[in-house]
């Protein structure tokens, strides 16, 4: 159960990050978002 909630939260935040990167106009902000996104994706796939 807790696993599902956790996955849901990470997935939710992942989508938010992707949405942020697409809308953001400043390059450095976009890049910062992408760096955080990498960690979220690895967690989402339960790799690291």
């Amino acid at each position: 159960m807790i696993q599902i909630i956790y996955h849901f939260l990470v997935l939710y935040l992942t989508f938010h990050l992707i949405w942020f990167v697409i809308r953001e106009k400043k390059f450095w902000n976009q890049l910062s978002g992408v760096i955080v996104l990498i960690m979220f994706l690895l967690r989402l796939l339960l790799i690291k």
Partner: protein
């Protein structure tokens, strides 16, 4: 498409690529190294055969059993309780690949905390693997983390009250050697501890040995930590080792330090519980750059300096403390424990044939005793 959107897609593509390559690299940590059991192996089981609650979980692990024709004592050996302590793990592998037991029974679990082998400690910069050369070419082994993989057990609570009732910091809930006697329906680490208690109970282990290593600046090294039920055995072992020229000391298991193997195995499973420690440079806080070489040769300038300043609990010179020396020490201690057990309880004889000779291991290294990789 606007310019910033194009940049976003490029960056997202880049993120996907980084995830792919980093993910592939991280996933190699989930691979298990090959172990080639000796032809005298009686049966290979899994921890889940003793406690089905571990089935299909990353906490499940191989249990190698060698049973002699003649009745005798039963010995359990754990390696890899802490997967960042390679001497314990390699000693267990060496035994699995060489042993022949003609009397009594020997049970070996090289990867006691299998989950801990499947990740590395963050911010430590430890290598994922190290290789030992064998006559048939190099063989690699995992260098893991002291704790269970947080992917497999999370979140850590702020405070952890272990199954023996001791309050510890939250991360210790992933430390197998704080989780005894385990909990049947607990966290993964507690389930592993519970499974090991089941092994001790079901196999009626007369002696159980937990193989460890610690940093050279930690006081309990080159030591036999014993439960009070094994005090006599520890004393006899110490004398045997000292006669062989192995400098080692005794540490009584403190009765109020709960959740550790040398405490709870004795209290709950009534087995003679012993924990062995050697000094591992790659484990220490004073070391320089971590590397596979450091794990194997144990040489480090900072530790030489620390030894000169009298900060260490073991002698340390330019030769370092190599893995073969540490493994040799574990082998010598195991041999002495088994002979001590026989001396004190003639009915609990365990006849270990083909046990790699500790002095030879120190001389020629570990490789010649490992089965060449296929």
């Amino acid at each position: 498409m606007k310019k910033h959107q194009a940049t976003a897609f490029l960056l997202l593509l880049l993120a996907a690529l980084v995830c792919f390559f980093a993910g592939r690299e991280f996933l190699t940590m989930h691979e298990e190294e090959a172990v080639y059991p000796s032809p005298h192996l009686t049966i290979k089981k899994r921890l889940s055969d003793y406690f089905p609650g571990l089935k299909n979980s990353p906490g499940d692990s191989s249990v190698y059993i060698f049973e002699g024709q003649k009745m005798g004592g039963t010995l359990l050996i754990l390696g890899g309780t802490h997967p960042n302590e390679p001497a314990g793990f390699i000693t267990a592998v060496l035994l699995v690949e060489n042993l022949e037991v003609t009397q009594g029974k020997v049970i070996i679990v090289p990867r006691a905390n299998n989950s801990g082998f499947m990740h590395s400690d963050p911010q430590e910069g430890n290598p994922q693997r190290y290789s030992l050369s064998t006559p048939g070419g190099p063989r690699w082994f995992r260098y893991g983390s002291r704790l269970t993989n947080p992917i497999h057990q999370w979140p850590d609570s702020v405070l952890y009250v272990n199954p023996a009732g001791q309050k510890l910091s939250g991360t210790e809930s992933r430390n197998l050697n704080r989780s005894y006697p385990g909990r049947k329906h607990g966290k993964l680490t507690e389930k592993i501890a519970y499974a090991i208690m089941q092994v001790i109970d079901n196999e009626k282990a007369d002696l159980a040995v937990d193989l460890h290593e610690a940093a050279p600046e930690y006081p309990v090294i080159n030591a036999i930590v014993f439960h009070e039920n094994s005090a006599e055995l520890a004393a006899v072992t110490l004398m045997t080792l000292q006669m062989e020229g192995v400098d080692i000391r005794l540490e009584a298991s403190p009765p109020n330090l709960r959740g550790l193997s040398h405490r709870e195995w004795g209290d709950f499973a009534k087995t003679r519980a012993v924990l062995l420690e050697t000094a591992n440079t790659s484990h220490g806080r004073l070391k320089g750059r971590p590397s596979a070489t450091l794990i194997i040769n144990g040489k480090d300038k900072n530790y030489m300096k620390a030894a000169q300043l009298g900060l260490l609990f073991v002698p340390f010179d330019e030769d370092g403390i190599s893995l073969k020396q540490r493994v040799s020490r574990h082998l010598a201690s195991l041999r002495a424990l088994v002979s001590g057990l026989h001396e004190l309880h003639p009915d609990l004889c365990i006849q270990l044939d083909n046990l790699p000779n500790p002095i030879e291991v120190q001389k020629v290294g570990i490789g010649p005793y490992l089965t060449p990789s296929k």
